[in-house]
Symmetry: C2
Subunit: 325 residues, 2 copies
């Protein structure tokens, strides 16, 4: 399948790397809104201007949209879904229904297939919420994130006056995890589920106390959490916090039996060295499915919930049954 | 959907209980090869003779086959797949391809839909092997079972002369689990992955040393494992080992990045108080999917790999996207 990347940031680079691990995929190139001459790809993949993407309509099986969910994807995905089979990793959970409707309409109109909200959350975590809740209807599920770098929270700290750079880790509270695993189905507040660790490089002469207060009292981002703030040098940040690790847990506990006398726990856990590379790897498996569904003549928008697992694998149905079932 | 149970052992009883947790399911009855008058169901469900099942052709949406994999299902599933939409939990991994072909032919001939090898392994564990390997092609996966009761191994002990009753637990070796989680992709022998704990009630005057030797040297079942044997009274067995807990782990570790410099771990873990009730709960979710696919006019044999996750859930696609994605 011929893959192209639209938007060449961390996620786009992850797709570029992932293509090399999947012999059935080939990278047509990378489309960027920057000057193509100024963009150098990791593997020597060709770079094109985003403005000329539609000229490649017939040369791309699946276009992977690697923009951000805040402003890029709500525009880009519907705009391109009429001309390409597309995949995105739209992750603003509350706006998924509306994004789905717009992409579905565009894809149907153009006779193309789209898949939105691929990745691990939404994505693999969503799948686990669905499977576990279908199997254990009398139960509760919990999603914990981390320990990992939240780009949104790191950006929020960087916007505070006096901050030169910052890295924020989301950390699940071990006691909350243990309660959930024990089947206690606790009602957990935001504060009880996660803590936030902030590593901040201040500008020279900045007011550290003011920065710390600005972080800890920031509504939505930090005010509802137990937050710790550590100041460090730029060298220390680069040395100790250069990576983008992430991960988390989806845990469902539920009861069965005539008297609900038996407890069960289903736990799914990801531990990721590189959030963008792992997300890209999920998108590439989904691209395989999108390519297959499109070649079967399907059109419109899909999510991970609509994809039969077999369509993600390069193995044939016979091989899958013989080796993996 | 109208469900019926064929074979009323632990699994059949689990399905009977699970139906009460799923408002969209209704239990037509239980079919048994025993004298129906001698079978009393847990919930007062009707009992019919297995020999008259075909008279119920038009009254059952999905027939759940609850026989054993050794001798029952290889006969029963193909024999009934032409007249009913059926599900089984056939778990002899090596014989799945052949079972699939026979059931597929029968179901296609009768215009019905079948799903084989539902449950958690094969089943949920298979799904996790597939998803994880499609996402991390450069990696290795490992399946560990337990701590849990293996019925097959318990039965094998009971066949030894001088043994009145027995319960065998399969236990994953913690050090092996830790090596796998650490991404070391170790080559593990059978002995390094699991130990076996046997609790044996001897007949009066039995030769305990001979029983212990017979267990520990039994080929396939115990000879390749570190096995411990404890003798106890029947009362102790009933008091401390009455349940059928089980569970296990599917772990895949893999690398991404141009130099494969990033490691990732995907871990799926089940902790089950009741193996048959949990398996039955999986079968009921799969029955929902089978019913839907059959009503769409699909025929032939399927496995969990072929089922789009959305079809397992009682929620609509819109609800799933809004609440679980």
């Amino acid at each position: 399948m011929k893959i192209a990347v639209y938007g060449y940031g961390n996620l786009g680079k992850g797709v570029e790397a992932a293509v090399r691990q999947n012999p059935d995929a080939e990278l047509v190139g990378v489309f960027t809104r920057r000057d193509p001459a100024a963009v150098k790809t990791l593997t020597g993949a060709k770079v094109f201007s985003a403005s000329e993407v539609k000229a490649f309509k017939d040369e791309i099986d699946v276009l992977i949209l690697c923009g951000g969910s805040a402003t890029d994807l709500p525009e880009t995905t519907p705009a391109l879904a009429g001309d390409f089979n597309v995949i995105d990793s739209f992750d603003t959970h509350a706006r998924i229904p509306e994004h789905f409707e717009r992409v579905d309409a565009a894809a149907k109109k153009g006779g193309r297939l789209a898949l939105i909200s691929g990745g691990w959350d939404p994505g693999l975590f969503s799948l686990n919420r669905l499977y576990a809740s279908a199997i254990l209807p009398d139960g509760a599920d919990y999603t914990f994130w981390g320990r990992g770098v939240s780009q949104g929270h790191s950006d929020a700290i960087r916007r505070i006056p006096g901050v030169k750079d910052a890295r924020q880790y989301t950390v699940p509270v071990p006691e909350a995890l243990e309660k959930v695993r024990a089947g206690e189905t606790p009602a957990l507040t935001t504060r009880e589920k996660h803590t936030r660790e902030c590593f901040v490089v201040p500008e020279e002469g900045a007011d550290l106390a003011a920065i710390e207060t600005a972080i800890k009292t920031m509504p939505n981002y930090f005010a509802d959490y137990d937050t710790t703030v550590s100041f460090l040098t730029e060298e220390e940040l680069l040395r100790d916090h250069a990576g983008l690790p992430h991960g988390g847990f989806v845990i469902r506990t539920g009861k069965t039996g005539l008297e609900k006398e038996h407890s069960h726990t289903i736990e799914y856990k990801l531990t990721l060295d590189s959030n963008p590379e792992f997300t890209a790897s999920v998108l590439l498996a989904l691209a395989r499915a999108v390519d297959r569904l499109a070649k079967r003549g399907e059109t419109g928008c899909r999510t991970v919930f609509d994809i039969a697992p077999a369509d993600l694998s390069p193995l044939s149905p016979e091989e899958l049954r013989a080796r993996m079932l």
